[in-house]
Amino acid sequence: MSINWFKYSSPQTFYPLAGKMIPWFALLATAFAIAGLYISFAIAPTDFQQGEAYRIIFVHVPAAWMSMVIYIVMAGWAALGLALNARLSAMMAQALAPTGAIFTFLALVTGSLWGKPMWGAWWVWDARLTSELILLFLYLGFIALQASIDDPRRADRAGALLALVGVVNVPIIYFSVKWWNTLHQGSSINMGAAPKMAATMLLGMLLMALAFWMYTVAVALMRVRCIMLERERSSDWVKELSLGVKS
Amino acid sequence: MLIAQGLACLRGDRLLFKNVEIELNAGGLMYVLGENGSGKSSLLRMLCGLLMPEQGSIFWDKKKIKENAENYLSNLTYIGHLNGLKDDLTALENLYMSARSAGNEVTENKALAALTAIGIERCANLPARVLSQGQKRRVALARLWLTEGKLWILDEPFAALDIASVSVLAARLGEHLANGGMAILTTHQDVAINAQSTQTLRLSS
């Protein structure tokens, strides 16, 4: 059993496995995306308050959700990597980070693109906005730390530790920021201004979220393969592999 | 007693050594020799548990050193390339505090005695900053007069020492071994140390 696990957790065997999985996830992602986009633009009705602007929700919310989910998954892999000292899981954590950062960035930008017409301001210090911004900082910290350590083993373990410390803090931060926001009633605007969640809208958002999920998996697998190639450059299996490909 | 089985060390993408076997018993002395960069320091750091072996494992009294770390570390005295001195503390303070925080029972007087033994009592109250290269090294080495540790791991202890101090240190090593201690050391000079059993491990890159 455990042998089996280690067999698949060794880069050499995981590399081709990942290669096989990528296309399927890509396919799923596109399928969900098409369905989701169809609902969000063709089916979902115009919102009587916000007009068409609300359609941003179909990228904004899934992106926001993903930004959080990915961070947690990342921390999970990191913990596994620290516990079992398994190279693969550390690599997975490292592979997820950039995608998570991108989604966070998207949540921020689409959010403020929504905010401009709704509130008339690109940015307000609202609780959720602020905590999303902080989440972006957490991602960037993780990436920067790993980027600035050259010894891969140390980079893995340092990053993993940071991710763990991060997840412990995320809820505290989120809570404190919400609280801070309620203290300053003055300017806080509630996103409740957003339309009622009609069933179709919820479906649309869910489909888009699923699309993002599948996309994330595919991309993470692609990145982890790159990392393996770069890390194990001098190992035999990479050499054989690279001799195999023509270019 | 110290046993290491099938140690391998990978630095960056270079395999420094593999299948290194060590068995060291009471009174045993081991030289680790090799050219610059052959991996001597790395091996010593590995034996201390500072560096995780790529393969293989290390046992102290039949138990993995990670498992009975407390027992192992209280028997271990390691002095590396770095002297671990604070420029702003005097020689005496440096010695006293490093010994204390290593868990040895020492008094100011004992520390002073150690400095005297290695012949730098005159510098006892000088800040480490102003000491000469060799004097710094000797302050670090003075800890060997204070520990009750069974296992000494010394990385080029003789570097930068003058002839007199070299022989003083050699004598101390001999004494330690005679009392059933063990020592592992690297060096590029050859120095005569008398021990019941002397082994030599040669690393070649």
């Binding site: 115009t46 941003i56 689409t110 017409p117 990145r223 690279s242 270019s247 | -």
Partner: protein
């Protein structure tokens, strides 16, 4: 289907800029990420090939 015409669709009830910018940016990020990863893996393979040969 509540779009009178394609132009209405693109006009997005006056919010064209915000809506299309959001979706467009998302698409851009996705495409960029995928392409850059392609490049990266090809580069990695090329390098290790050189290593393997030389």
């Amino acid at each position: 289907m509540q779009w009178a015409s394609w132009s209405a669709f693109f006009y997005m009830g006056g919010y064209a800029f915000y809506v299309w910018f959001s979706f467009g940016l998302t698409a851009l990020c996705v495409i960029w990420e995928v392409l850059s990863l392609r490049k990266r893996s090809i580069e990695a393979l090329r390098l290790s090939k050189i290593l393997a040969q030389g």
